[in-house]
Symmetry: C2
Subunit: 260 residues, 2 copies
């Protein structure tokens, strides 16, 4: 099977032009097929502020009301996605930018939650693997914005980490899939402020133990849950680490390697 | 050769949800291949106002400065394009939304004009017909936002009428191409306020005569120049008419038919 790299970069990478350019350079140099999934970043928040749209938070989680959905669709699917595509084209990479609505790539349903109404947030139902394989087969690279649709005309805001995991998993029968999460830390850290405390390899028992000890908390939990889910469903390798070191993450010489 | 309908809808159609839905319904029912090119509409202007970005006009023409480019990229490539794609998917049409940067679909250069600096406005150099043919061959329909790129990482704001003409022309060797411009008037009118004064068929001599008499003025001139250019380069038919009557425009029973 051919190699496929599914690379997710977070919002803080998108916010930093120098860092974004260096990540795109690494993405351009990948040997094999490659898909980039990008997060949002501060632009959506600053646009909301300048438009007078209040960010609604419930229990520390953002609610995607209609005005916020409009903003994230504009920022993620428009500004960020198309600027990344144009930058990749300038590097000689034949990139195509997509949302989950395009070609019915990612069908989702609006999240049902008895406790909190998250608004227009989508949980993924299906990935159109035929479309991905068809586009990849022409040596194109894909850039995916974290916007999905419900098949009834409604766009939905969807977690980019989960999109990366779902796409990696869906393609694991066709390619040797390597899933990489690039973010602001060196990897999984024993001491959150100390980059040298990186856990080089983490398996499920270690993860459970570190969660129980509250060493792994907050946003790392869904990220690592996604990592283990991917491995359990056929993804070859998952690495989580600092986006600045994208080349090393791709080569497997930086970050935390997640294993079963 | 198979039929291909290249349909352009202007900004005022995009601004009117009922009218947009009826145009998309007609687009969904087209027999043959179909490409939709959409304009911008008032959302970009209202977003600019709410963000405090001043619209710069020189000699009645809008200047695309950096802030304006950011806004049109968000609105055209993000909000409008993806909502149209999601609506078409809901109608069972396998639509993919693209800008000129995606797959290097439309390469352009920043307009050089000794008199006025239009800013980030692109004039088209090349259309990637291979990509269009490849995507159309899978019975997909394409939705194109009027944003192009220069191949060096710069996005550019580009006239949607001209994109429609360029794509229609570029594909005229492969398909029987029918180019339709849907806008707010019945077609070319002898009296601008009187819909019944429609010119049913217009050839080049009549166009030249009506231009000389100042009956055809302003925005109709570049639109008709595009129409004649398309016909001169192999496009089968060009019809200009009221977007409300999209079905009739497609069937050739409404609007002004342009002929050589």
């Amino acid at each position: 099977m051919e190699n496929l790299y599914v690379i997710k970069i977070g919002g803080n990478i998108v916010d930093d032009p120098t860092l974004l350019t260096s990540c795109l350079q690494a993405f351009a140099q990948v040997k094999g097929h490659a898909i980039l999934i990008h997060g949002g970043g501060k632009l959506a928040t600053s646009l909301a502020t300048s438009m007078g749209v209040e960010q609604k938070m419930v229990d520390g989680r953002r609610i995607t009301d209609e005005a916020t959905l409009k903003i994230v669709t504009m920022v993620y699917a428009g500004y960020i996605n198309k600027n990344i595509v144009a930058q990749l084209q300038a590097k000689g990479v034949d990139a195509i930018g997509l949302t989950g609505a395009d070609g019915n790539l990612i069908k989702a349903h609006q999240r049902i939650n008895a406790g909190i109404d998250f608004g227009f947030v989508g949980d993924i139902d299906t990935i159109n693997t035929d479309l991905l394989i068809e586009l990849l087969s022409k040596n194109r690279r894909l850039v995916i914005a974290p916007i999905t649709h419900d098949g009834k005309g409604q766009l939905l805001n969807t977690n980019a980490d989960t999109i990366a995991q779902s796409i990696a998993t869906a393609l694991s029968g066709t390619y040797q899939v390597h899933l990489i999460y690039g973010f602001e830390k060196e990897g999984v850290l024993m001491e959150i402020q100390d980059p040298s405390s990186i856990v080089l390899r983490m398996d499920r028992p270690l993860y459970d133990s570190l969660k129980a000890q509250k060493i792994i908390v907050d946003g790392m939990i869904p990220k690592l849950d996604n990592a283990f889910k991917a491995l359990e469903h056929g993804v070859q390798s998952v690495i989580i680490g600092k986006a600045e070191k994208m080349n090393e993450l791709i080569n497997g010489t930086a970050g935390t390697t997640i294993q079963l």
